[in-house]
Amino acid sequence: MILGCWVRSCVSVLLCLSLLPGEPVPTLSKDEQRVLARRNWWSFQKVVRPEVPPLAAHPVDAFLLEKIQAKSWAFAKPLPKEALLRRLTLDLTGLPPAADEIQAFLEDSSVTAYEKVVDRLMASPAYGERWALKWLDVVRYADTNGFELDAERTHAWRYRDYVIESFNRNKPYDQFLKEQIAGDELYPGNKDALVATGFLRAGPEHVVGGNQDLELNRQEALVEMTAGVSGAFLGLTLNCARCHNHKFDPILQADYYRLQAVFGATKGDEISIASKAEEERYAHVQQAHAAKLEPIKKAITEIEKPHRERLRAEKRTRLEPHLLAALNKPKEERSPEEKILAKNAEDQSNPAWDEVLAQLNPEERERRTGLRQQMHAINLDEPEPAAKAYAVAPMDKPETTYILKVGDHNSKLDPVGPGVPLVLANGFQIPEAAHGRRAALAEWLASPEHPLTARVMVNRIWQLRMGAGIVRTPNDYGTLGERPTHPQLLNWLAAEFVAQGWQVKAIDKLILMSEAYRQSAELDETKLREDPENKLYARAFRRRLEGEALRDNVLAVSGMLNPKRGGPPIKTPIEPEVYDLIFTEYEADNLWPLPKDRSEMYRRSIYLLNKRTVRLPMMANFDQPDTMTSCPVRPVSTHALQSLSMINSDFMQQQSKAFSQRLQGMPAEERVHAAHQLTLGRPARPVELQLAREFLAQGGTWNDYLLALMNRNEFLYLP
């Protein structure tokens, strides 16, 4: 029995996992012994498929009813058909059901009517778009680096599209996991698998000029990779052990750095996945593009030049004499000291861009502005670069990984080799060789025997559909995390997931077909009093649309939605107040170019540029995560600024106008019904017709009426 992990040979993954743990051997440190003594924590135990209680035909219902019936309760009443279709469609696609879909469902009285809709929606491309929103929260995906420069990552979006496609194609989750952690190592030559490793670079990265602490930068990259894997797949808060042994969980500081060492031969890279011909074509069109800009740039320089020269000359007259003397000396004659002085003299007399602009006369200023505008217009046609994967690449030589005192890269303690947390290791080894470390980690995680991987993912599926996870802390299966509300159900789902070949759609459908999913969210005083957190699932959760889904729904209702899929991220109009908050030390005249094809601005929210330092108000107000750390559960906050943006933003005003135009020409009552049908998926009730009549009679406009409808609780919340 090998427990100490000190054997250097690479043992087959599955063989290792099948080894039985023995008693701690005396060579283990006290810390290690303590860790191993805590292997009995529930989430570290192998999944054992439990018997389904004989309480219902559907296993999910059977497990839930055990506790519900113990209270002499039952599920809440089933949701009426109309509402059920609305919930299901919003849930699976993030978009409302179309009128003909509603009608077809209402008219279908067969027993399979519901299942047919589930199948139809799961086959829709919007299914993957919906799932991607959830997954990208977990991996903290954004299209930019973050921090002050916050540059766009030109090729990162391919990872976003990869995620969407993976869910749409029902890619087995073990493969999905392996591609993201080690696609390059396990599937060489496979472009999608290479793109998938963008997962390891999804987090923020500090890119800035000046003197660099390369070791610090490297450590930050490793911290991000380690956090990404442990949060998304392992469901453990390993980062808590970066500075010291985990305070609550049996995770050693060494465990953290062992996992970090798995990435000790991995670096970020942008790798071409274009053909030779595509690359050549790009080089060609890019050259033509640059040639178009060239004369304009030159003309701008010409306008500025005399002013810049004059300013420089003026500044030189104010230089201290010894600086000027150094500057006036021919370069080759300057002593080392004079070289520094000359450089200082140049720095001091070099005018800043805004000083130069301040010198321009009105005519020059106008001409220059015109030229800048021409330049920006041409740049809208900037050719799309030849395809690259925003991915990782192996390093020639693995670096030595050290345990760092309080996480400080300047305080190195003992070196460690790659490995997995001791408490889960069971003797499992990761090879020391540079190549294959990540592959070994991925295989270990994707093993059907792994106690966490399947549990963590089925819990995410459950959380997405049911409103809260069986484990309510979906990234934390440690002692600070919550215990599962239904441990047996979690085990059963995890076992079923593996048995079904890790198919997300299989588990997803299983949940959707349960009675539990189809029950009403209506509040019941007794249940609310005795089970305020709904831990028994004896009613459905009230769920609000996320900011992204809200925007998509508004666009769907107004008729403006552009359903085009995939591709580079899109900029939509932002408020001047938001534009002003984009950081730049330079000219702020083209920081947010809108797409030439304006219909692009009405694409689904998943395709909007997610810029770490520029949050779109509608998203930020509705709790879109900031993409800096993994977000397994979005908070739901309600506040006045949210209300203000929902009634006064240009976007909402514009959309209510478009909505109004969509309904134009109908008789009033028909229009009210159609408006309800589009926003709420049902005709207006008599009291609503009455409200509409009163509002319009008092001089209210259709725009305002529709704006109010799109602000309704019923519109913002899933039935």
Binding site: D150, N475, L480, R542, Y586, D623, T638, S649
Partner: protein, 480 residues
């Protein structure tokens, strides 16, 4: 009611009808619903107003904070920490035995640059202030200078994040977000956390400097801009009259009451939020309207002269927001082009004279005005930056960033003025004796507000996240 230890500590566990009414944002619809909600025996915690005011952990008179942030790093040896030795060593390298400090652009072996400004002692307390800040010099008896702060990065954005949120990384809640999370809001018609950036541009750290991080979005800072409608989306677009908007809101509230089950507090909160939004539409323009301010007050803040008008207006507005119960106000001097930051990599003299010229009189006016109105006891004013500057030169006449020892100051509520705590070496390069980290900075601010740094936490991804992470030391001498 101990909400700090409840599973969702930001949501007060409201239990009685009176609590509910107090916590509600007093919307008419909300009240009607709250009536229904407060039925006998109903004990579940409804989410009504996450910003309802809360009692601190310790008694404290401090109700509001004004954080004046000087973007780019003012030189401590040019403002509040006189270093006569720099004269002696002018043009020379740091003497042997003093370790040079590499920074973002310089190696630290550049010649020493003495301060172009003279220092004098001021007030009863005899605090040193350079001639750059003649107005502030009159207020030193109310100010507690701490001359030995440090940050961990010589790069602007990470250092700014550390000052604002305790970490050099983006994504952690800012101090203002923590404070409103801990104390709620005293105002029921203005945002609890207001941010006023430099009109020319945003500070280098950008919006995360007032972000909520992983705290609920309700705690993020709200940017106030100049003009009659300071808040984004505050007013309906042109062509929509207030009456028209009121009518639309009335319709919406009626619709929402149709949608809202009497037990559903989350829905009720949305109804309250629209009412609050409507109240904000008149309260915010009223707050930014200086019509009721006297000529003397305007002159005091420098609204009559070009140089000080802009910053003075933001500080006068800060006082008005304090009067209206805003909890945390963050004002930036500097942002956008380098020419309008304190980031004097070259031409220190021109830069600091300009930046001090913009801010000195308004800041002194703020302190004097708060004091005259009896508000200084309940308002904590903080002045600081992401780091200071090096004693060595850059480009011959500027300075690079120094994170190893720099000055920030506190005034007002709970602060013992007229003293300087901590020190740097003869060159103003490194701290000597006790140095203070940003954790200490934050622990002290929380303490002044009556908050215990260890009890103010939020469970995020398996960690009890706190502003001070694993804890800072409260700088006791700062406390009165």
């Amino acid at each position: 009611m101990n909400f700090f230890t409840s599973p969702e500590p930001h949501i007060p566990a409201v239990r009685t009808r009176r609590d509910i009414l107090r916590a509600a944002a007093h919307g008419f619809g909300a009240l009607a619903l709250q009536g229904l909600l407060a039925k006998e025996g109903y004990a579940a915690p409804p989410r009504v107003n996450p910003l309802a005011p809360r009692e601190p952990h310790f008694p404290s008179k401090v109700k509001s904070v004004i954080f004046l942030f000087m973007v780019g790093g003012p030189g401590q040896m040019d403002t509040f920490d006189p270093k006569p030795a720099l004269e002696k060593y002018a043009g020379q390298q740091l003497p042997d035995g003093i370790q040079s400090a590499p920074s973002q652009f310089t190696k630290g072996d550049e010649p020493i640059l003495p301060s172009p400004w003279k220092f004098k002692q001021h007030g009863q307390s005899g605090m040193w202030v350079s001639e750059l800040m003649p107005h502030l010099a009159e207020c030193v008896d109310d100010i507690c200078f701490v001359r030995s702060f440090t940050t961990d990065s010589v790069v602007h954005a990470p250092a700014m994040y550390q000052v604002h949120s305790g970490r050099i990384l983006m994504g952690f809640p800012s101090m203002g977000a923590w404070v409103t999370y801990g104390l709620g809001s005293e105002s029921d018609n203005l945002p609890s956390y207001v941010v006023m950036p430099q009109p020319e541009g945003t500070p280098e750290g950008g919006t995360p400097c007032w972000g909520a991080g992983f705290l609920p979005a309700v705690h993020q800072g709200t940017v106030f801009r100049s003009g009659p409608n300071p808040i984004m989306h505050l007013k309906p677009p042109a062509g929509v009259t207030p009456e028209q908007q009121r009518r639309t809101l009335d319709l919406l509230q009626k619709m929402n009451e149709l949608d809202t089950h009497p037990l559903d507090s989350e829905m009720a909160a949305r109804i309250s939020a629209y009412e609050l939004a409507f109240k904000m539409q008149s309260a915010a323009p009223e707050a930014v309207d200086f019509a009721s301010e006297t000529e003397a007050t305007r002159r005091m803040y420098g609204l009559h002269q070009d140089r000080t008008r802009e910053f003075g207006s933001r500080l006068l507005l800060s006082r008005r927001l304090v009067e209206r119960g805003v909890r945390f106000i963050q004002v930036y001097s500097g942002g956008g082009p380098v020419s309008i930051q304190w980031d004097a990599h070259k031409d220190l003299k021109q830069n600091h004279e300009k930046m001090c010229g913009l801010t000195d009189q308004p800041i002194a006016a703020l302190l004097k005005d708060l004091k005259a109105r009896g508000l200084l006891d309940s308002t904590l004013v903080i002045w600081g930056s992401e780091f200071g500057r090096l004693p060595t030169s850059q480009s011959g006449n500027g300075r690079d960033h120094n994170r190893h020892g720099f000055t920030m100051w506190f005034a007002g509520g709970g602060v013992k003025g007229g003293q300087a705590i901590g020190q740097t070496d003869d060159f103003g390069l490194y701290t000597v004796g006790e140095g203070y980290t940003m954790r200490d900075f934050h622990a002290t601010i929380l303490r002044l507000l009556g908050l215990d740094q260890h009890k103010l936490w939020y469970l995020h991804n398996g960690r009890h996240e706190k502003l001070t992470d694993f804890g800072g030391k409260v700088i006791d001498q700062v406390l009165a």
